[in-house]
Symmetry: C2
Subunit: 202 residues, 2 copies
Amino acid sequence: MSAPPGTRLGPGRPRDPQLDAQVLGATLELLVGEGYQATTIAAVARRAGVVTTSIYRRWPSKRALVEDAIFGLEAFEHPIPSGDLRADLLAWTRLFLAASAHPAARSAIPGLLSEYHDDHDSYRRLLDRGELPTREVLRELLAGAVADGQAAPDCDGDAVFELLRGATLFRALTHGTDGAEDFCRQIADALLAVAATPAARS
Amino acid sequence: MSAPPGTRLGPGRPRDPQLDAQVLGATLELLVGEGYQATTIAAVARRAGVVTTSIYRRWPSKRALVEDAIFGLEAFEHPIPSGDLRADLLAWTRLFLAASAHPAARSAIPGLLSEYHDDHDSYRRLLDRGELPTREVLRELLAGAVADGQAAPDCDGDAVFELLRGATLFRALTHGTDGAEDFCRQIADALLAVAATPAARS
C-alpha cells in the first residue's frame, strides 16, 4: 500500500477512492465501538488493513480524519422547502438532531470540541466547510418564508441558526434520540416564533 | 493526610473544608493548564500535596471531582429579576456564556460530555443538581413576566431554557468570550421572541 515512486501527492488530495472508503469506514466503526480516544491513526490502519503512511498521505491528523468521517455521514442532506415554514423548521431540527446523535458523531463531537479549544485555525476551517453552506441554505429558506408572509421581513436568521445548532447538539450529546420527536417539535415551534418576530433594535 | 482510625466517612460527605478547597483549586489549575485528559486524580493529588486516598475518600471518581470544581465556580449565581424581561434574558445569557467560557469549564465540558455518553446515571445526577434548580428559577422569571404582560401566558419556558443553554454552551466551547456581547444580545432578543409568543398547539 506504499505509494510507487513519483506518485506522492500533497496532503488533502484524494489518492484512491476505495482506500479512502475503507479508512473512513474503519474510523466510524472505531468511533462507535471504542470511542474517540481509542480512534488513533494506528488503530484505524489496523482495522482498515492499511499502513499508517497511507492514511497520513491523505489526512494530516486524526482530527482531520474524524472530521471527514463524520461529515461524510448521509444524514447531512438539507431538507427541500415544503412551503410551510413550521414543517420546514421541524425537518431542519430533526436533521440537526439526527446528525449529532449518530453514534459516531456522538462519540466524536466532544473529542473534536476539546481539540478545537487549542486549535482555532482548525475550527475556522471546519466552519468554512460545514457551517457556512448550511447557514446559507437556512437563510434562503427564511427569505422564501418572508416573501410569502410566514416570517418577519427583518427576522434574525443567524439567531435561528445558532439556537437550532446549539440546542440540538447538546440534546444529542446528552440524550441521543430519546424523546426526540417531542423535543424537535418544541424547538421548531420556538424557532418559528423567532422567525415570525421582527428583529429588535436594541 | 491519611484519616485516623475510626474517622472514615462515606463518599460524598465533606471531611475537611481546607483540604477540599486545596483539591478543588488544584483541579481547576490542572484543567486550565493541562487539559481534561491530564487532570487525573494522581495529578491533582500531586499538585494539591495530598495522597490520592484523601481525594478518593471524598470523590468517587475524577468525573465527580471535576463536576464539583466546575459547579463551584462563582459565575453560577442567578441574576436578580429587574422587571424588564429583555434585560433579564440578557443577564441570563451573559451568565450562561460566562459560566461555560470559564477556562476550566471550557477545558472540562467536552471531557464530561464524552463520559456522560457512556454513563447515563451520572448525567441524571448532574441534571438534578445543576439543571433543575436553574430551570425552576428561569420559570419563575417568566411567570413574573407573564403577570405584567411581557411574556405570553402559555409561552414555552422549557424551550427558552433549552435554546439558552445549547446556544451559549456551543458558543463558549468554540469561541470563548470572543464577540460575546453582540452574541448575547442576539440570543437574548431571540429568547424574548420565544417568551412573547403563545405556545403552538401542534
